[in-house]
């Protein structure tokens, strides 16, 4: 096959990653129009109103929380961590797919990622913002959260850098900053496209400021590409480190069910699993609503399904190993923890988790299922729920019955745990709605590089140089050439 590729006889049997009939101009127009259009679509306004209510619920909960204290949540000793850390890990995990798509798939030269990377990166940013709220508010005195950072102060105190919670602070803030840079950098050339296509003066000025004078200079592109690749190269170990550090919060403790070495890889795989499920949960409706089938093709969705299938199996392996470890450890407490997890008072959650995360996604083995958007959407919903349950199972069930039965305690969330959680969902979706409307959600310049006519053909260039071919417009190659 390698020879065939070299001789250009090889025809890629897979469906194309860009729809037919698109050219440089129509790509720019189709994507820019969503941003530059006048007024709002009715569906957008309706959806935005609903999710904005969710944001308001979040803000009210936070206000009440700061006023009264974390006592309004259901967690209490020994379950000192509950919804706050569950939601934190869940949101961070969702963010990971964005970085995986934008950075790791870029390094692996998976060019199909080009149409969904901007979208996934935005998802990362908003998910990490939601995640960060929980630990910041769980401190109980959010106005002194700056103590977490090594800032010289009059108390002459410094953070304890040996604590995994400090590692978390550094990992998550670095992750947010780097994701923001990566996202904004990808947007610069697209802001330039918007500046140049906008009709209204204020749009020209606004996008002109954001584009910072980008003019597509070849030397600029050269540095840009280097910087972009380096950012991708830096994000790749970063994203793996972030969820590893999150898992250290547990793994460095001695609580049964937490103290295992499998946590970092198992958490990272789970994060990617959850993140891809969230990408599809958002992309499937958006693609339909904005008619983006030419950009986010069935091939993208199928690829995402395959990634979910693979990472889902790693997660399943993690569950299996947890069982094995507790048996092999011969530790009374570990074995009791596993029994409690499966058959204890919260046991039903474990079995729902197995159903959501392991059994139902196996449907994706069938090609028919991978082509059915409704089925995929429902499976993704199950995975979203399942990954949340996984964190509940790990966190609450290990804490509520640990070493001494006299300290056992049944954890029950309060109404504020739920308003806070669903509030962040509303806040996340509010940000996504604003992003979709006001920022090009598909990278314009990266989509252009996928077009067949964008490729520089050495032979044609040489013919042109030697004057063998007529200069000027060369006929556009047809799709599938």
């Amino acid at each position: 096959m390698a020879d065939a590729v070299k001789n250009q006889d090889y025809v890629d049997p897979r469906p194309p990653v860009v729809g037919p009939g698109l050219d440089f101009r129509s790509i720019t127009q189709k994507i820019a129009d969503i941003v530059l259009m006048r007024g709002f679509k009715k569906g957008w306004v309706f959806g935005f109103a609903i999710v904005f209510l969710g944001s308001i619920m979040l803000f009210n909960t936070i206000a009440y929380l700061v006023l009264k204290g974390v006592g309004i949540w259901g967690n209490n000793i020994p379950v000192g961590w509950a919804f706050d850390i569950i939601n934190f890990v869940w949101w961070i995990g969702i963010g990971h797919a964005g970085t995986l798509i934008s950075a790791i798939l870029l390094l692996l030269r998976q060019s199909w990622r080009n149409s969904i990377n901007r979208f996934a990166e935005a998802m990362t940013l908003f998910a990490v913002a939601c995640a960060g709220m929980f630990p910041a508010l769980h401190t109980g005195r959010p106005w002194v959260d700056y103590w977490l950072f090594p800032i010289p102060n009059t108390m002459q105190m410094w953070p304890n850098f040996r604590s995994p919670l400090m590692w978390d602070v550094f990992a998550v803030t670095t992750y947010f900053t780097v994701s923001l840079l990566f996202w904004f950098m990808g947007l610069i050339p697209d802001f330039a496209s918007l500046r140049d296509t906008a009709k209204k003066k204020w749009q020209k000025i606004l996008f002109g400021i954001l584009a910072m004078g980008w003019r597509g200079d070849a030397k600029h592109w050269h540095r840009y590409e280097t910087a972009y690749l380096l950012l991708a190269g830096l994000s790749t170990p970063l994203v793996l480190s972030v969820h590893s550090v999150v898992s250290f919060d547990f793994a460095t403790g001695i609580v049964p069910g937490w103290h295992t070495t499998i946590f970092p890889p198992y958490f990272v795989a789970g994060a990617i699993y959850a993140g891809f499920a969230m990408v599809l949960t958002l992309a499937i409706p958006v693609r339909k609503y904005y008619h983006l089938e030419d950009f986010i093709t069935l091939r993208h969705i199928r690829n995402c399904c395959k990634v979910m299938l693979a990472t889902g199996l790693i997660v399943a392996y993690g569950y299996l190993m947890e069982q094995f470890f507790s048996w092999y450890s011969s530790s009374t407490y570990e074995m009791f923890m596993m029994k409690n997890r499966m058959f204890g008072p919260y046991g039903y959650m474990y079995w729902i988790l197995i159903l959501c995360n392991i059994l139902i996604p196996q449907l994706l083995w069938w090609k028919k299922m991978r082509d059915n958007l409704a089925v995929i959407f429902i499976i993704c919903m199950f995975i979203n729920v399942g990954m949340w349950l996984e964190r509940f199972v790990i966190i609450v069930m290990s804490l509520n019955r640990d070493f001494t039965p006299s300290a056992w305690y049944m954890y029950r969330p309060t109404i504020f745990d739920f308003t806070m959680f669903f509030g962040t969902v509303g806040f996340f979706l509010t940000c996504m709605f604003l992003f979709i409307r006001f920022v090009p959600m598909i990278p314009i310049f990266e989509m252009k590089t996928l077009l067949p006519e964008a490729q520089v053909d050495e032979k044609k260039v040489e013919d042109l140089e030697n004057g063998k071919a007529p200069v000027g417009a060369t006929p556009l190659p047809q799709f599938g050439d």
Partner: protein, 181 residues
Amino acid sequence: MTTQEEPGLYGMMAEFDDPNAVVAAARRTYEAGYRKINAYSPYPIEELSEAIGYRRNYVSLTVLLFGLVGGLGGFALQAWTSAIAYPLNVGGRPLISTPSFIPITFECVVLLAALSAFVGMLAMNRLPQPYHPVFNVPGFNRASQDRFFICVKADDPNFSATGTRAFLEGLGAKEVSDVEK
């Protein structure tokens, strides 16, 4: 030809509508002895920057240096605060407990390297730049959409208003225009 500069002229801009044509034209411009050439395209074309004689940049070096600074700085910060500024005995561990300083050291490497990649790229590109003469060229707004441009700058020793125009027209440009300063 003299090095005398045309007053008020930044350069001469040729417009193309095909990536192959612009790469061929850029190579011929370079072969013709012009050195102060800029090329513009709506998406990155590796061959184009090579064609105008631009092969290496210093972004990677900057990122490496700042990554090292981040790593050393991050570790030094932790060691200094934990051992000198605020010594704290945590479970009998040494004051400079290297293994538990590694995660934050790593995060500092990534943070500084990433910031330097972004800021360094912009600084070396001299961005943000609110005004640039090439925006005066009619139709240049298509450089971010579907057109490709080559600009020979007026401070090139081989530049002459008439000669360069004739040369660029000979390359098969769709349009050749003066770039006002």
